[in-house]
Each structure stands twice: as C-alpha cells, then as structure tokens.
Subunit: 171 residues, 2 copies
C-alpha cells in the first residue's frame, strides 16, 4: 500500500549493500565517459559543478583531464575534495529512475614528468581518442581521483551507501 | 594555427557575453528536466553532487521538488548555497562539445501552506506529470532557486560569464 499523503513516511532510505548494488555501481564507473564534478569555489566556499571528461586508467583508477584555463582546475588546487556524479539519464523515460552514483573523492594532479603519465595517457586516449588534439598541451593535466565512498541511487527507494571496497574494480 | 604543445596558451577563456550566449543559456534553462545539484555536506563542508528533477514555474522561476529523505534536502536546510549544472550530453558525439550551464543560486524551501504553492504545483506537474504520484506526500517540498549568476560553456573555447539579467526569461 502506498503511504498516505498526510503521513510522513518513516523509512530508512538506505538499503543494505548487496552484490547487485556493487554491480550497478561498478558498471557506472566503467561506462561513464563524463561526470558532473563538484568542487568548492575558492573565493566563497560555495559549491561549483561543471561537466568533465571521465575515464578509468590502469588498475581502475578514476581519471579526468583538465585545462588550467578551467575554473575547476584552480578550485582543485585550492581544495582537492570533490564530488563526482556518474550516470547520464537516457533520452527516454523518467530520468530519476536511471541509476546514478555520487563519489566522494580527493583529486591528485599528475605531474607532467611523473613516470605513471605515459600509461594514463595511453588509457585515456583509448577512451577519448579526440583528446589526442590537446592532451599534450602544457596547460592540460591528468587528475586522479582517490575514491573514499559512494552513494548509489538505483531508482526511487533504492539508495545504497558504498565504501571504497564496494567500488573497487577487478582488473 | 593551433598552439604548439610546448607553449602555454595565454588566452582569456571568457568571451564577451552576446545575444547568442544568452539565447543558448535560456534554452538550457527552459529545456532542462533534470540538473546536477551541488550542495555542501553539512558534516564536512565538502561538495556533494546528486541528480534532481528541474523545471521552471510561473515567471520563469527555477524549481525542484525534494524529499526530506534525500541527503541534499538536509544539506540545503543547513546551507542554501547551491550550484546547478544544466544540459545533458546527447548519446552521440563529443559530450564536452554539448552546451552546458552552471548556475550559482540560493535554495529557498516553499512552505506547504504558502499561497504560491498551488501555482508551482500546477506548473511542475505540467513538466513532470509522473510526479503526481508523490508531489503531495508530507516529506516532499518545492524548492525555488534564486539565481545569482551563470557560467556557460558552449563548447571548447566558448565560455561566458552571465549575470542574473542575462539569464532572465521573458514570460
């Protein structure tokens, strides 16, 4: 029976994490080509959300490629705490039924001369071949995301709190 | 001539706002059915991004409908400063070429007994007819967004800083 409009619903919105939830979250991580990146505006402390390219590198590390010209690049250098929303609604149906995953993470810039950069670059160009046009420009940098936890919403009433292990990809 | 990979590009990434930019931004506002909502986690001050339904009410007011069970509802009550990312990438082409708009706004909860609620409800159900199933549940509330400014990215090298007037819709 659906709840009555007049009675507040007393339900715990977070379900116990199971293999299905882990599978949906990992599929979102593997499939995402973009993310909505939330950072803190260094001038005000307010949130700022922008779209960034997203992909996985060696051993499943979450990555983006940013230009120093982007607002979020300066914000990440001032405070590396980020939130990433993965999972784009499809063109049809109720967009809030489409699964999406919010990650809490710390952003780490990869130095241009870091030994790991070559492998990240190769993996990135596999996902984002058009990035070959600008990946080596001096103002572009890879950023790794160290994921602390996740919040999966797999549709109405299907919310899960995930830890870093739940989100670890077998590579 | 494209910039050399070795030479940092010294360009101002923000273009002067023109009628085209205003038109793209207003089309994103009018067309969006969802948004990536950035709030501050009350426990840590870190950003948190989630997907919310989005639509315009009377006189072009930007709206969402939130449940008190959602994490962002508590965050909005603790600090009303938000960022909203509008504009979903299509299924084809480079998703970073697709225009998107970041809004800086303040969230205002609409009281259940506010005189304006009936008109907001009617407009909302016009955009989101399936919300009729839960719009009157006691834990659901309309939230108005007072928009302070916007950042439009209309594709590589096409960034614009917009003020509240640039984003005002003729109604």
């Amino acid at each position: 029976m659906p709840p009555s409009p007049e009675t507040p619903r007393r339900i715990d919105p977070i379900r116990p994490t199971d293999a299905d939830a882990r599978g949906i979250a990992r599929a979102l991580l593997t499939g995402a080509r973009t993310a909505a990146l939330g950072v803190l505006d260094p001038a005000t402390g307010a949130p700022f959300v922008s779209r960034v390219a997203f992909g996985l590198g060696p051993a499943g590390v979450a990555l983006t490629l940013v230009s120093d010209l982007a607002f979020h690049a300066g914000a990440l250098r001032a405070d590396p705490r980020v939130s990433l929303l993965l999972g784009e609604p499809g063109p049809k149906g109720d967009p809030l039924v489409h699964p999406r995953l919010t990650l809490a993470a710390t952003a780490r810039f990869v130095a241009t001369d870091a030994p790991e950069r070559a492998a990240l670059r190769e993996a990135w160009l596999g996902h984002h071949p058009k990035a070959a046009l600008y990946v080596d420009f001096a103002d572009f940098h890879f950023v790794r995301f160290e994921i602390a936890s996740g919040h999966l919403n797999a549709g109405f009433g299907k919310a899960y709190a995930l830890d870093a292990n739940d989100l670890k990809l077998q590579s």
